[in-house]
């Protein structure tokens, strides 16, 4: 099939799904995506990182970061939303500008048993000015903390929404996505007219 080059492409947007290792990022992407999550990787050149072993191995080091993604097509408005599960190798994906560049926003998944695992993602999005919310993935054996307690522990700004979710459940994952877009709308500048 040959496409007319003048055809208008769909608007492609992305939302990042971040959080610590094993917190359910891939599960969340899979629950919301219309396709089975795909996986690929990128080679990141880590120049002058100055942290642990890389600082001793010379100027440059190349590392591979693997990541999962899925998509949701909104035919009615000709929008394709990509969900990128950020790589587990946290130290490295932060250096991969392309992954976060142009992202509409981010969902930071948190596990109350290991809340510290999402500190890095929260810091990253705060520093980059990427709007985000925190979704506490409720693991069956985790103590049910109140959102307020999680907010205090993460020292989150009062405007950052905190939700509870079940990353395995499509309805729950979609609800989190809708909440993020509502949060983005609330933060977006009002129309100039």
């Amino acid at each position: 099939m040959v496409y007319n080059e003048s055809e208008v492409p769909p608007t492609q947007v992305k939302i990042l799904i971040a959080g610590g290792f094993g917190v359910g990022k891939t599960t969340f992407v899979g629950a919301a995506s219309e396709i089975e999550p795909l996986s690929t990787e990128e080679l990141i050149t880590a120049a002058s990182m100055g942290i642990d072993n890389l600082s001793r191995t010379g100027d440059k080091s190349t590392t591979t970061v693997a990541f999962d993604f899925g998509r949701i097509t909104i035919h009615r408005h000709d929008i394709v939303l990509y969900l990128f599960g950020t790589p587990g190798q946290e130290r490295f994906w932060f250096m991969w500008d392309e992954l976060s560049a142009g992202a509409l926003g981010a969902i930071v998944l948190a596990d109350t048993r290991r809340l510290q695992d999402c500190f890095a993602a929260v810091d990253f999005f705060e520093n980059r000015g990427i709007p985000f919310l925190v979704a506490v993935n409720e693991f069956d054996d985790a103590f049910p903390y109140e959102p307020g307690e999680v907010r205090a522990a993460l020292e989150l700004d009062a405007r950052v929404p905190i939700l509870l979710c079940d990353a395995r459940d499509t309805a729950s994952a979609m609800s989190v996505l809708r909440s993020l877009v509502q949060h983005l709308l609330a933060a977006a500048p009002a129309p100039s007219v």
Binding site: E5, Q12, L38, I72, I74, L81, L104, M174, R178, V181
Partner: protein
């Protein structure tokens, strides 16, 4: 002890061919592509394309994003971009300007459409 039928070489072993071998050592694409750039075949495939290019071409019969081509080729994104840029250069595919950009971050209309779409799913 490992049995004779034990598979000892799996995905964990990594690729048998170093990633940039398929690119003849080139690490930069000649055409600007990002993860969400869409590519599609023009039907004007050159005859001098190698197997990796043929595989990439087969994935682009309908518009597809660079990141999906990479996932299906099982090649790193940057390597895939170099291959796709070759195909753009020889006229076998065209890239549709990706309309994802930071300007959309403040685009209320887009966000409202996105929310409407997500509410209908």
């Amino acid at each position: 002890m490992a049995g004779d039928d034990e598979v000892w070489l799996d995905d964990e072993a990594g690729p048998l061919i170093r990633p940039y071998t398929v690119n003849a050592g080139r690490t930069r694409p000649t055409v600007e592509l990002d993860l969400l750039s869409l590519v599609v075949t023009t039907g004007r495939a050159g005859s001098d394309v190698d197997p990796e290019h043929v595989k990439a071409l087969e994935l682009c019969h309908t518009p597809v994003s660079v990141v999906e081509v990479a996932a299906n080729l099982r090649l790193p994104v940057m390597v895939t971009k170099v291959l796709l840029a070759d195909l753009v250069d020889c006229g076998a595919i065209v890239t549709w300007a990706s309309s994802s950009s930071s300007s959309h971050v403040t685009d209320r209309v887009l966000l409202e459409k996105l929310l409407d779409g997500l509410q209908r799913i």
